[in-house]
C-alpha cells in the first residue's frame, strides 16, 4: 500500500479510537469503584483499587433484596420482549402488504406512542394497573413497556418485511398454503434477522427504563434499577455497592450486543435504507 495512504488511514482511525476511549472512561471508573471499599472511596482519590475487595459483589449475590431485583428485571424484560414482538409480527405484515381503511393514520398513531413521555403516563398507569390488580407484578411493567416497544417493533419489522419480495407470498398462496402456515413456516424464517433486531431493541428499551418500572412496583416485583435508587437515597452513600450493582446491570446488555453484533449495523437502519 502507498505510504501516504497508510498514514491517512492511521490518522483516520484516531477518531473512532478517541471516541471509544471517551466511552470507556466512565465505565472504567464505575468498575474500579465497585472493587474499592467505602473507606477508600471516601478517603480520597485513587486511580485504581488499592485495597482490592469483592465484598460489594458478595453482598449483592447473598442479599435477596439485591439479587431478586435482577430476577424481577429480567422477568419483565423478557416477558415484554416476547409479547411485543409476537403481537407486532402480524401487524407489521399487514402494514407492509396491504392497504386498509385508516392504515396510514393507524401507523402514525402507533408511532405517537413512541413519542409519549413516560412522565406523562406514570400516574395514570399507577391507577390503571392498581385497578386491574396487576400492581407490583412483573406483568404490569411488561404490559406498560409495550406502550413504546410495540410501535417500535412494528416499525422495525415493517421495514424488514417490505424488503422481502411479494412474489414469495404469491407463490406460496398459489401452492395452496393457508395464510397461517405460510406465515409461520416460510415467512418468519425469512425475516429471522429482522426479528432478532426487533427483539434487541425491545430488550434494550425495556431494560434501561426506570420511571415506569419504579412507579408500577413496590416490594414483590421491585426491579434492580429501583433497588439501586432506593439504596442511594435511604442508606446514604454506599458508592461501592452502587457501583457493583451498576456494573452487573451492564453484563446482560453486553451479552445481548455480542450475540447480535453482526445485525446491529443493518438493524439500526431499521431494515430499509
Amino acid at each position: 500500500m502507498h505510504p501516504e495512504r497508510r498514514t491517512f488511514i492511521r490518522k483516520r482511525a484516531l477518531i473512532p479510537a478517541i471516541y471509544i476511549i471517551f466511552l470507556m472512561l466512565p465505565i472504567y471508573w464505575l468498575v474500579t469503584m465497585s472493587f474499592k471499599t467505602t473507606n477508600e472511596i471516601l478517603g480520597g482519590f485513587t486511580p485504581w483499587p488499592v485495597n482490592f475487595t469483592l465484598a460489594n459483589y458478595v453482598k449483592i449475590f447473598t442479599d435477596s433484596t439485591w439479587y431478586s431485583g435482577y430476577i424481577n428485571s429480567l422477568t419483565f424484560v423478557i416477558a415484554n420482549t416476547i409479547l411485543s414482538v409476537v403481537v407486532a409480527l402480524p401487524a407489521a405484515y399487514a402494514f407492509s402488504r396491504y392497504r386498509f381503511l385508516g392504515d396510514k393514520h393507524l401507523f402514525f398513531w402507533l408511532l405517537t406512542n413512541r413519542m409519549a413521555p413516560p412522565a406523562v403516563f406514570a400516574l395514570p398507569f399507577l391507577q390503571l394497573y392498581s385497578a386491574v390488580g396487576l400492581f407490583d407484578t412483573p406483568w404490569a411493567v411488561a404490559l406498560a413497556h409495550t406502550l413504546f416497544n410495540v410501535p417500535l417493533a412494528v416499525w422495525i419489522l415493517e421495514g424488514f418485511m417490505s424488503g422481502v419480495p411479494k412474489e414469495l407470498d404469491e407463490t406460496a398462496y398459489v401452492d395452496g398454503y393457508p395464510f397461517w402456515r405460510f406465515f409461520l413456516k416460510i415467512f418468519i424464517p425469512t425475516i429471522a434477522a429482522g426479528i432478532g433486531v426487533a427483539c434487541f431493541f425491545c430488550f434494550m428499551f425495556s431494560w434501561v427504563e426506570l420511571l415506569l418500572a419504579k412507579t408500577l412496583t413496590s416490594v414483590a416485583a421491585k426491579p434492580i434499577v429501583a433497588t439501586m435508587t432506593r439504596t442511594a437515597s435511604t442508606s446514604g452513600y454506599e458508592l461501592g455497592l452502587l457501583a457493583a450493582a451498576g456494573t452487573l446491570t451492564i453484563v446482560p446488555g453486553a451479552f445481548v450486543i455480542y450475540f447480535v453484533r453482526n445485525y446491529i449495523a443493518k438493524g439500526f437502519a431499521l431494515g430499509r435504507v
Binding site: P16, I41, R114, P117, A119, P124, L210, A269
Partner: protein, 287 residues
C-alpha cells in the same frame, strides 16, 4: 411496492391496536379528566374548565422549564449529529475492528438510565471522581453540585456519551449500504473526498439522518432518569427539564390538575414537532 386493498388486514393489526389502546387511551383519558377538574381529595371533583391550562401556560415555572428543555435539546442535536456523522465516516468498513467498534459503541445504549446517571455522578464528583479530580487538577474550578454552568456541562457531556453512538450506528448502517459502484465511479472521475461526501454519501444518508434526528429529538425532549440521578434537577432549578418538573408536580406534590394540564401541553409539543419531522421524511420518500 404496490399494495393490495384488503380490509381483512384489520384482523392482523387488532391485537396491537387493543394492547396499545389499553395502554395509551385509558391513561390519556385519565389525564384529560384531571386536567379539567378540581379536587380537594376524597374523590370529589369539580369542573374547572380550562383554568389549569391557563395557569400552566402563564406560569413562569413552566416557561423556565420549557426554555431549558429547548436549549438542552438544541445543544444535544448540534453536538451529537455532526459528531456521530464524523465518527461513522472514520470507522473501518471491513476487518476485525468493525466488530470491536460496533460492540463497544453500542454498550452505552444498553446501560440502564439510572446507572448512566449514577456512573456519571461518581465519575464527575469533584474530589473523588476521575473527571472531577482531573479537571480540578488542570486548574478548572469544577463542582457540578454547586455551579449551574458546570452542572449543564456535565449533563450535556453525559448525554453525548450516552446517545452519540445511536447516531454513529445509524449513519454507519447507511454508509455500508451504499453500493461500491458509486465509489468506483467517483474514483474514475477523480472526485475529492469532500465531493464524495457531499454528492454521494450525504444524499444516501438523508433517511437514516432523519431517523437519527427524530429519535434524538424525541428522547432528549423526554429526558428524565439520567438527569434526576446525576443532579436531581439542581443546583437550584438549573437542570430541571420538563419531565423532571412534571414528575415533581404529579408524584411529589400531587397537584393533579396542573400536572395533567402540563402533561397534555408537553405531549402536544412533542407530537407537533415530531409530526413536522414525519411529514418531511415521508415527503422525501415520495420523491
Amino acid at each position: 411496492m404496490y399494495k393490495q386493498l384488503n380490509q381483512k388486514a384489520w384482523f392482523l393489526v387488532a391485537p396491537v391496536v387493543a394492547l396499545v389502546a389499553f395502554n395509551a387511551i385509558i391513561p390519556l383519558m385519565t389525564v384529560v379528566n384531571f386536567s379539567v377538574q378540581e379536587t380537594f381529595g376524597d374523590n370529589v371533583f369539580f369542573w374547572a374548565g380550562v383554568d389549569w391550562f391557563e395557569q400552566v401556560l402563564h406560569s413562569s415555572r413552566f416557561h423556565d422549564a420549557l426554555l431549558r428543555q429547548i436549549l438542552f435539546t438544541a445543544i444535544i442535536l448540534l453536538i451529537e449529529v455532526p459528531l456521530g456523522l464524523i465518527v461513522a465516516l472514520a470507522m473501518p468498513r471491513k476487518g476485525p475492528w468493525v466488530s470491536v467498534c460496533l460492540v463497544t459503541m453500542a454498550l452505552p445504549l444498553l446501560i440502564p438510565w439510572n446507572v448512566v446517571g449514577a456512573m456519571w455522578n461518581i465519575f464527575a464528583l469533584p474530589e473523588i471522581g476521575l473527571m472531577g479530580k482531573g479537571l480540578r487538577s488542570l486548574g478548572f474550578d469544577f463542582n457540578y453540585t454547586r455551579q449551574p454552568l458546570t452542572a449543564w456541562f456535565t449533563v450535556v457531556l453525559m448525554d453525548v456519551w450516552h446517545w452519540t453512538s445511536l447516531v454513529v450506528l445509524l449513519c454507519y448502517a447507511g454508509l455500508v449500504s451504499i453500493p461500491n459502484d458509486y465509489y468506483q465511479a467517483a474514483k474514475i472521475d477523480g472526485a475529492s473526498a469532500w465531493s464524495v461526501f457531499r454528492y454521494i454519501q450525504l444524499p444516501k444518508l438523508k433517511r437514516v439522518l432523519t431517523i437519527a434526528i427524530l429519535l434524538r429529538f424525541m428522547d432528549s425532549f423526554m429526558i428524565y432518569t439520567e438527569v434526576v440521578v446525576l443532579t436531581g434537577g439542581g443546583p437550584g432549578n438549573s437542570t430541571t427539564f420538563l419531565s423532571i418538573d412534571l414528575v415533581k408536580m404529579a408524584l411529589g406534590q400531587f397537584d393533579l390538575g396542573p400536572a395533567a394540564a402540563m402533561s397534555l401541553i408537553y405531549f402536544l409539543i412533542i407530537l407537533l414537532l415530531s409530526w413536522l419531522f414525519y411529514t418531511v421524511m415521508t415527503r422525501n420518500e415520495a420523491r
